[in-house]
Symmetry: C2
Subunit: 440 residues, 2 copies
């Protein structure tokens, strides 16, 4: 409720509920702030990997397997023909040429999936299809194009050497070899290799179920008219929902709730049943309406901290409800929320899924221009990485520093990570970045 | 049916059905083969972009928008505070310091989403929350940390300059500017920016519905025992289903069908109703059991061609059924199927979705070793790209040339594209690659 006049500072207030702090929270540094790494390590220590179960191959694309897989079969499983043609003894055709063709009787035929009817006797040929097992006694394949494709006798006009066009058992994958290690991420070709091994399901942790809520009475729902021109459209819940989905999570976007403490508590409590993780934005700062910071201690054990980063300094974490569901409470400025997602939420999701590394890999770039930074805080600036004519990556900053600059954020393709001990990165200096997308 | 003895070549055969060829197929070159580019351009000319419709923001992650989007709002929508604090006139606080604080009466309060109760008179302050509109007359914000947070009067211990901590209307995005162009791919930050504009749905082409079928009586279903040791597990339908899904399509994996012509026709006909595209593997070569090549001309207009590439030479395309559903018929070797997917199917899917570029971008690498190639064919070899100490990418070949080497395929992270006019790429020469995945 806005207060349109003066009010006394001595007005009595309801007593704050007894907050139950979380154990083991890292201590702040001399500057009163917790380091980024300490806070991330703390969050990672407070969430567990989700229990794995066996999932069908086509449900695990881009997820990480959490078992080692030993090849149960050779690939190929048996010596087989690489061509449609005739199985022969190489010695029988070694002098074959267009001028002096070799004619052999055709004593049988092998289709893929079938066994040879009998071993191949010297001086004979057996028709064979691609992938069909090479008959005992044969040691080379003459492809159709070097024959007259005869069914009774075959006329062969070119030699095939010993072993030619024969795929040998186990030459691709040997039975007993380890083909996947726990933690490996499974792309389409991996799924295909597992299928070729006869495996139809693998142990994989489920996609975390993430509930996304944005707080703030100023928020309006996209697609609807705003109640006043001073409302803003909720973008954070879309940002986080889409980012979580891109990171592999299953997302429930609850969207915006107002600043009413009871409504916020009710919405969050209602969601606990289907959440492996809850994300909120807004209400964690020093403002008078910072409802999340006010009410969440009533729902569980919480930890609010100032983290030595820019943007994204005010951070909250908790374990709430009977099941102690983890909740990450982020600031409400869109860029702060996005940076908080990248720095804290994405690693937590990856731990839940068992995907390593938890933190994005830093790439090194040359700074295209000088970049001032703040000593004592890790800065995450929006950047655009390009590859110069000399093949080296370079990065420029996109737009301003303001944590409200969503348009600039969308235009960036990287976050530039400026370390705590830096006040200035000079032109051409090496700087670390996280690449955010390939498509910008 | 296998034939275990001799048979006469003169045995009468059922007459082949009258094949209706597709119009406009490119002519083959002097080597009797069609070029890769000609065949791809032909396929792209035969499929249409799917009709777009308006889809909810969270359903379009990674899809391409097919309309230009003009910003309907300024971002920010109004001058607003970047901090929790007090709106003031900069001139009133310009001499404020810890030693000589300035005390101003607090004449109101503005929460985010609300309008100021009245303009700010000189010599007064108004409490203001982050994101709340700056009242008329104010030109600076003093953040809480430079005050005593008073409600009746506020004691200010540091100056704020003109405009400080004020976010200006339109400084991020100006109303009327084009924020997206048709063809742009939408990532999480783009979805967030659209939401901030009040947009809840955008015109996007649907995900193509792709039916995946693998043919071959030698195929067994993963997870089941094989009927004989000469069967192989179906991996192609998993490979293509997963690859299509990774490319953004909606996939129905029908899986394996045998070599029986009537069964193949029935399965494919049954699927037409739900397919924007059908993919098959196997049965397009010169073998005696190449059922796809045999029966598909009965279902519609088809085009079978030898394409000047390795692997993947035998390629089929058709428009089948009443609705002329496109079908791409690929060879059955796993590597051939994968290369065919990358060279032909992925571009076709991207055209259907309106995602540009249709073809993967070629990156340039140094060859880590000599790579022999075949003049007259474009070779697609499996490669592993790494970044050397000098920051340059280099690529080595993974495993052998055989198109059955699925294990090698899974271990690769790139396809090396060796052009038609090359017989040898020397060590250190520049060579083109398609990057396949980030995670290997």
């Amino acid at each position: 409720m806005p207060l349109f006049g003066r009010r006394k500072t001595t007005e009595p207030e309801a007593p704050a509920p007894e907050a139950v702090p979380l154990p083991g929270a890292p201590v702040a540094g001399a500057n009163g702030m917790r380091s980024v790494d300490d806070h991330r390590d703390y969050l990672l220590s407070m969430v567990a990997e989700l229990p794995p179960f066996r999932q069908q191959l086509l449900d695990v694309i881009d997820l990480s397997i959490c078992e080692d897989v030993v090849a149960g079969l050779n690939l190929p499983g048996f010596d087989n023909s690489a061509m449609d043609g005739y199985a022969v003894l190489a010695a029988d055709v070694e002098r074959a040429s267009a001028g002096e063709p070799v004619v052999l009787p055709v004593v049988g035929e092998i289709a893929a999936g079938q066994a040879a009817p009998h071993p191949l006797a010297p001086g004979t040929a057996m028709k064979i299809m691609t992938g069909a097992p090479v008959p005992e006694g044969a040691d080379a394949i003459v492809p159709y194009e070097n024959t007259d494709r005869g069914d009774v006798d075959v006329t062969i006009v070119a030699a095939s050497e010993y072993g030619q066009h024969i795929r040998r058992v186990g030459e691709d994958v040997a039975a007993g070899s380890v083909i996947y290690r726990a933690g490996d991420q499974l792309g389409p070709r991996d799924i295909s290799l597992l299928a070729a091994m006869g495996i139809d399901a693998v142990m994989v942790r489920p996609r975390p179920r993430v509930v996304v809520i944005s707080t703030g009475s100023e928020l309006a729902e996209p697609g609807y008219l705003r109640e006043s021109e001073h409302q803003i459209y909720d973008s954070n819940s879309f940002l986080l929902a889409a980012a979580c989905r891109a990171a592999g999570a299953q997302v429930y976007r609850v969207g915006r709730v107002g600043d009413d403490p009871d409504a916020v508590k009710e919405v969050i409590t209602d969601q606990l049943i289907r959440a492996d993780l809850i994300l909120t934005t807004g209400g964690v700062s020093q403002g008078d309406y910072d409802v999340i910071k006010q009410v969440m201690p009533e729902l569980g054990r919480t930890d609010f901290a100032a983290v030595a980063m820019q943007p994204g300094k005010p951070q909250g974490f908790g374990l709430i409800g009977e099941d102690e569901v983890p909740i990450i409470m982020m600031p409400g400025n869109p860029v702060s929320a996005f940076v908080s997602f990248e720095v804290f939420v994405r690693p937590v999701l990856r731990k839940m899924m068992g995907s390593t590394p938890y933190v994005r890999t830093e790439l090194h770039c040359r700074a295209a221009h000088a970049m001032p930074s703040i000593v004592g805080k890790r800065q995450f600036a929006r950047g655009h990485v390009s590859v110069g004519e000399d093949g080296h990556r370079q990065v420029s900053l996109v737009g301003g520093h303001g944590s409200h600059l969503l348009g600039d954020l969308a235009r960036a393709n990287a976050l530039v990570v400026l370390p705590e001990d830096t006040d200035l990165v000079g032109v051409g200096d090496e700087v670390s970045v996280w690449m955010l997308a390939d498509h910008h």
